[in-house]
């Protein structure tokens, strides 16, 4: 019995390289484009299946030398593809300009050209193993999945020690080992030679670099710029910079000079994957600028408050809070490196100084305990960590409201520099939070104060009094801020310091001849009354089931968004990219599905069986990924970051479904086994659907290891069951026609490609529970598509 270890290694290398490439894109370019890689990989697998369908006979005849040759080819092609990828001059910013987008589409095509061959060969290698060991489908699938899971873990482990630019070259040797195990002495020598040549070429020609248009570029390249600390992790590459551009970055009034207040102080700049996430203090943090800041608005209404700060900004926020009169401060900082910087310091930046009034809490923002007069979210909180948006859901805000003492306030910031509509969505969320908290008239509990570029929503436990509104007005007037909304204030006719015209996708004209406008003021009253304007932008509240502030553009308005793409900020472009990828994936899936019409003679199956296969395998491809992506989102919240959530879910699902596949290879009654498996899967998924939010919330304060264990425990039975249908199906359909095997593989792959952008659109547009429900529907369809027993 030939060894399946080469298959294990090939699968591991393919998944490892896939994950390494997503990290490359995140560091060199922007992370939204990383999942293209996954799309390219899946496309490669799907096409390999098509090739295998058409050339099955030839592949089987030459299997003896193909088995060691394919990993060697993958090695060479992988190295070349990596070099091509690093040399690609792709500039994602140019996609947003119709005049320059064309050239960038060509660059995207070059990415496909560079990476596609590697994944096609990987798919061929894996499916060849399926063909050669056709009698042990379960065992083969098991090795495949276990190898993939191990590859994921290996890639993650390497991220702690290697820079993302070194990951792919580090993983390629796995392929050499696979070739050496699959062939004889000649192949071993060949494998080593190709490995040496590939790594030499990579060393000589690969030139990965951080895009010159990322925020870190300028600070890194001014005179006397130094990197004073560095940290590698799967979360990102952290760099602490010291140069003259680095200052605490907080929105202070343009009248600060007139008020006699200094600008924000110099600091170190902390960057993660090239984007700035915080300023860290150089010595004890100074806060003389604090009274001029937009953040100070809430403090103007409170005397000596007990403050909960979400986001510590390296210690500056605490200093600001004390400068503004806080008598007690609790800091919650979910970003692990920022937490570490507060408690132990980072590089030359010192930790928080001991202060009896100051407490650094280790709790998760959604599990904070205690009572406060002010819950103050930092201006950079949303940008500091991708998961911090879960604090902006209506449920989370309602939770903070419940922590407030009488007279207490919640202060929530949002940027309005690009699209003011984000603020309106936040207002809708605040209204929903107040409703959840049992407040009868939400419009009396909200005030909105803003500068030209940032806005704060103040949500009060008790209705705002006229005296409070007057104090806010005076605070705003002195600083040239605008009180866009407060109970009792007329929406129009007041002086506006910072003109904010409305931005809409339908209009091509604007009226700017008259007095300054306030687009937020106009909409605030409507939203708080529960009658938001209805146009291209989604103003519905952010909820725990749909914890996403973007995209704002509603899907039916996609055409308008494309026509006015220059008006949209970068995060909205992600939606458009998703749709483009979905369209391409759907075309490919259609092509693969229709393939039998071309290859009918090669397949030799009855039409009803073809029809069933056409439902069975696509549903599997879709269902597995829909469930996986839903779990990744929940895991990201549970574990605190998307990378470890992704890795753990991927590994657990691959490993357990691999075990399930091996088990499936041994069952005596396949039809019954499938029924049991699908029922178990539906049952566990149903449980998750109902209980996930409560379970995640309850577990948020457990030690990381326990949380990871909970995740694995939730995934294990489900994944075990999900491992059954594919090998059972392959085996069953193979009995109908041997040619169905590679076609099934291709279908599965093609529909997996469709699943990722589809899941993104479903999840962001409808909510995570819909994702899980859609996955469950797919597996139910699988059950119905199982061929009836042959007579």
């Amino acid at each position: 019995m030939a060894s399946l270890v080469p298959l294990f290694l090939i699968a591991g290398a393919a998944v490892g390289v896939e994950i390494a490439l997503t990290r490359f894109f995140a560091v060199a370019s922007w992370s939204e484009y990383g999942y293209w890689v996954i799309s390219i990989a899946m496309t490669g697998f799907a096409v390999s299946g098509v090739v295998m369908v058409l050339g099955r006979g030839a592949f089987l005849r030459h299997a003896r030398w193909l088995l060691p040759a394919l990993p060697i080819a993958m090695l060479a092609v992988g190295g070349a593809g990596w070099i091509g990828t690093t040399l690609n001059g792709f500039n994602t910013l140019e996609l947003q300009n119709p005049a320059t987008a064309q050239a960038q589409l060509a660059n995207i095509a070059l990415y496909y050209a560079a990476l596609f061959p590697f994944f096609v060969l990987a798919g061929l290698a894996v499916s060849l193993n399926f063909l050669v060991h056709a009698g042990q489908v379960g065992r083969v699938y098991g090795y495949d999945l276990l190898g993939a899971g191990t590859g994921a873990v290996l890639a993650l482990a390497l991220m702690f020690v290697l820079h993302p630019f070194a990951l792919v070259p580090a993983l390629l040797p796995l392929l050499a080992v696979a070739a050496m195990l699959a062939g004889g002495a000649r192949w071993r020598v060949g494998a080593l030679a190709v490995l040496a040549a590939t790594e030499a070429a990579v060393l000589a020609f690969a030139a990965p670099r951080v895009s010159e248009f990322k925020p870190i570029y300028a600070p890194l390249n001014v005179q006397d710029s130094r990197v004073v600390a560095e940290r590698l992790s799967p979360r990102g590459v952290y760099l602490l910079l010291d140069n003259f551009t680095e200052r605490l970055d907080t929105d202070v009034s343009n009248n600060a000079g007139a008020m006699g207040l200094p600008p924000p102080p110099r600091a170190y700049g902390l960057y993660r994957d090239g984007a700035r996430i915080a300023a860290l203090p150089m010595a004890a943090p100074e806060a003389a600028h604090a009274p001029a800041a937009l953040d100070a608005a809430a403090y103007a209404l409170l005397g000596a408050p007990r403050v909960l700060l979400l986001g510590g900004a390296g210690g500056f926020r605490a200093a600001e809070a004390f400068a503004l009169g806080a008598r007690q401060v609790t800091i919650v900082e979910p970003e692990p490196l920022l937490q570490e910087a507060l408690s132990r310091g980072f590089g030359p930046s010192p930790p928080l100084a001991a202060d009896a009034r100051l407490r650094l809490s280790a709790a998760h923002p959604l599990r904070v305990e205690g009572r406060f007069d002010l819950v103050d979210i930092a201006g950079d909180f949303l940008g500091a960590d991708e998961q911090n948006r879960t604090a902006y859901t209506a449920e989370a805000l309602a939770g903070f409201l419940a922590r407030l003492e009488p007279g207490g306030l919640l202060s929530v910031p949002i940027g309005i520099r690009e699209l003011p509509v984000h603020a309106v969505r936040l207002l809708a969320t605040a209204r929903e939070a107040l409703r959840l908290a049992g407040v009868a008239e939400p419009e009396r509990h909200v005030a909105v104060i803003r500068s030209a570029w940032n806005l704060r929503v103040l949500v009060a436990r008790d209705p705002f009094t006229a005296a409070q509104v007057d104090r806010l007005l005076a605070f705003a007037e002195e600083r040239s801020f605008d009180l866009s909304y407060a109970p009792g204030l007329p929406a129009e006719g007041r002086e506006v310091w910072n003109d904010l015209p409305p931005v809409s996708l339908e209009a091509t004209t604007v009226d700017q001849r008259g007095a300054a406008q306030d687009a937020v003021a106009r909409e605030a009253a409507l939203v708080l009354a529960g009658t938001p304007p209805s146009d291209a932008f989604d103003r519905s509240p952010v909820t725990a089931d749909r914890p996403f502030l973007s995209p704002l553009v509603r899907l039916p308005w996609l055409g308008a968004a494309l026509k006015r793409i220059e008006v949209l900020p970068q995060q909205e472009i992600g939606l458009l990219v998703n749709v483009a990828v979905l369209a391409q994936a759907a075309l490919l899936a259609l092509a693969v599905a229709l393939l039998p019409l071309l290859a009918r003679p090669a397949l030799r199956v009855r039409l009803p069986v073809l029809g069933r296969a056409l439902v069975y395998f696509p549903a599997l491809g879709l269902g597995f990924l829909l469930v996986e992506i839903a779990f990744i989102e929940h895991a990201a919240l549970l574990l605190g970051d998307r990378s470890s959530g992704f890795a753990l879910v991927l590994t657990a699902m691959l490993v357990f479904s691999g075990l399930g596949a091996m088990w499936a290879g041994r069952v005596r009654a396949p039809g019954r086994a499938l029924l049991m498996a699908v029922l178990v899967a539906l049952g566990s998924a149903g449980l998750v659907l109902v209980g996930v939010r409560g379970a995640v919330l309850a577990a948020l304060d457990w030690p990381w290891a326990l949380r990871a264990a909970l995740l694995v425990a939730a995934l294990a039975p489900l994944s075990l069951a999900l491992g059954f249908p594919f090998p059972l199906g392959l085996d069953r359909f193979r009995k109908e026609g041997a040619g169905l095997l590679p076609w099934a593989w291709a279908l599965n792959g093609a529909f997996s490609v469709v699943a990722t952008p589809l899941a993104n659109l479903l999840g962001h547009g409808l909510g995570l529970s819909w994702l899980l429900a859609a996955g469950m529907a797919c597996y139910a369809a699988v059950l119905f598509a199982w061929p009836k027993e042959r007579p």
Binding site: A256, E418, E506, D511, Q512, A516, L526, D535, E566
Partner: protein, 290 residues
């Protein structure tokens, strides 16, 4: 469209006051030899064929027409001073990638205006957007202007054709030191540049500035720049990534009592409404315009 006489009068005044255009080139005007000599003098030795040069000059006329129509559509009328500035400057001289040391002159005055990367994270904005920005600055002949973020130098060059003195600061040393050499060979002798931190503005210029342009990545405007803004002056901040088709402009002005106001100019994306034709949809339930 209401044409007032103000821009025409101002244009006439500007014609009297504008510094001589490209006087250093001599009476021959802008020829291929002049271009190559200026490029050499600026430290960017290059070659360009005669047909390519002629093609660029031919495209320039169309481009100027395009700019004029664009400005007229958005402002009601194109500022003659802005048009003269564009006419006086050879845009091909500014199409240079400083990192790759590559000549992009063949791209100048393209019929589909777009931004071009210059290396070192900088970009030459499309000429329509630059025309808009220049007119939005409302530059006058006696003005003193400051720009933080020299980039290609084209914006500084444009303004220098209208105002009395133009100052420009670039924070990236390799870019700023190279671009600082390109103004003198064109005879733009009222431009002064430096490389360094723009946060403190240019305090040595007594009296401050009528126009300040700053590309701002931070959440706040450097207070020194507000302080160096003359009463009645305009501080213009373009917001948005450099490869978009145009940008939002935040325009800051100071009241007599020192308090700062801001206007968000969206004119690059939204054409101003003319007359009674209000086709912007109102949110349901909103009252009459304030």
């Amino acid at each position: 469209m209401i044409r007032t006489r103000r821009p025409l009068l101002l244009g006439a005044l500007a014609a009297c006051a504008a510094p001589p255009v490209l006087s250093a080139q001599g009476t021959g005007g802008w020829t291929l030899e002049a271009y190559l000599a200026a490029m050499r003098a600026s430290g960017r030795e290059t070659t360009l064929s005669a047909p390519a040069f002629a093609a660029i000059q031919a495209r320039k006329t169309d481009a100027l027409r395009r700019i004029e129509a664009y400005l007229a559509q958005r402002f009601g009328a194109a500022d003659p001073a802005v048009m003269r500035a564009f006419a006086a400057l050879p845009r091909e001289y500014f199409h240079w990638n400083y990192e790759a040391r590559a000549n992009g002159a063949a791209n100048a005055y393209e019929s589909d205006p777009k931004p071009w990367g210059l290396g070192f994270g900088s970009a030459l904005s499309d000429y329509l957007g630059q025309a808009y920005m220049t007119q939005a600055c409302q530059a006058k002949p006696g003005h003193v202007a400051l720009e933080i973020g020299t980039g290609s130098g084209f914006q500084a060059a444009l303004l220098s054709r209208i105002v009395a003195r133009q100052y420009s600061i670039e924070i990236i040393e390799r870019l700023g030191s190279a671009v600082g050499r390109i103004f003198a060979p064109l005879g733009l002798d009222n431009v002064e540049t430096r490389v360094g931190d723009g946060f403190f503005g240019w305090p040595e210029v007594a009296g401050g500035f009528d126009i300040i342009i700053v590309t701002c990545a931070a959440q706040y405007v450097p207070p020194a720049l507000i302080q160096q803004l003359k009463p009645g002056g305009r501080l213009v901040i373009p917001i948005g990534q450099p490869f978009r088709r145009g940008q939002f402009l935040y325009i800051y002005t100071r009241d007599e009592d020192g308090r700062v106001r801001s206007r968000k100019d969206v004119g690059v994306y939204f054409i101003p409404m003319t007359g009674a034709m209000m086709n912007r949809p109102r949110p349901a339930g909103a009252g009459p315009e304030g």
